[in-house]
Symmetry: C2
DNA sequence: TCTGAAAGTTTTCATCC
DNA sequence: GGATGAAAACTTTCAGA
């Protein structure tokens, strides 16, 4: 249970989401806290599950990104379940959302090029049972790619 | 200039994109290299710009995510430029792609709830000059949210 | 209960082989 | 690519507010 976060917590979380490579001392300077106080707060974020992990970000311009919109044929739970499992098994699936509206899923594929993309789309999406509709938008320019979410 | 990456580089980069919290010793064990050799490789990734930074990942289920598809009215460079600037200025814009196909842009908004979303969509997107079409898919379940890209 | 400071431990960095 | 010593960071503990 995340206890109520104060203003310093929000600033700290925003900083960590932008760049977690800073030292505790540097973070402390930025928010006005001692390094140990900063560390205690970060520990709490991890314990409560608010902070999941740290990752290294690779330059996305070296990859081919594609946003795929998927609609399945029916609302049968089995077809959704098997579709999810199939998609989740693919390492090329960078993001995978169940969404509201005309489509059921948004799948963002990250591949090394068009040949790899075609192979992946074929294997991961087009082979899905009960696939009704499927469209692809290729990313021409990844203007911003973050995972930042607001904490308040 | 990324020199040609060998197999160990690819494995190292995959590990770092999954979780960069590991020590050099742990990484070395996983790929069969000494800690200092691992460090040299990581330094090279940073120098060449392949590795941009490290970030902390906050649990996305605490936020309201929305995938917005945007089409502008004309191909006038000015309207695209001003739209980009306007969108880029908003901290709620988690991802922002220029894409091929019927739509011009995909914008993923991360907000604290529906009230925040409506305010943000109004401010960031609906006020755009030359906005032709705009649709929103709310994320019901963020099944996978990574920034992983293939390195080969 | 939370903060800040200091001691002990681990990791990282630079140089050498 | 590996190994070593030096520097830096992190973790733990403890005293104070």
């Amino acid at each position: 249970m995340p206890k109520t976060l104060d203003d310093i917590d929000h600033r700290l979380l925003a900083l960590l989401q932008q760049d977690s490579g800073r030292t505790l001392a540097a973070l402390g300077d930025l928010v006005g806290l001692s390094p140990s106080a900063v560390q205690r707060r970060i520990d709490r974020y991890r314990e409560t599950g608010l902070l999941r992990r740290e990752i290294a970000v690779v330059d996305p311009s070296s990859a081919l990104l594609a946003v795929c919109l998927v609609t399945l044929d029916r609302e049968s739970p089995e077809s959704h379940r098997s579709f999810r499992e199939w998609v989740q098994a693919a390492p090329e699936v960078q993001q995978f959302y169940n969404v509201s509206g005309d489509h059921d899923y948004v799948v963002i594929l990250a591949t090394s090029g068009m040949a790899h993309h075609r192979e992946t789309a074929e294997r991961v999406i087009k082979n899905a049972p009960n696939l009704r509709r499927y469209s692809t938008m290729f990313v021409l320019d990844p203007i911003r790619t973050t995972l930042t979410v607001p904490t308040r």
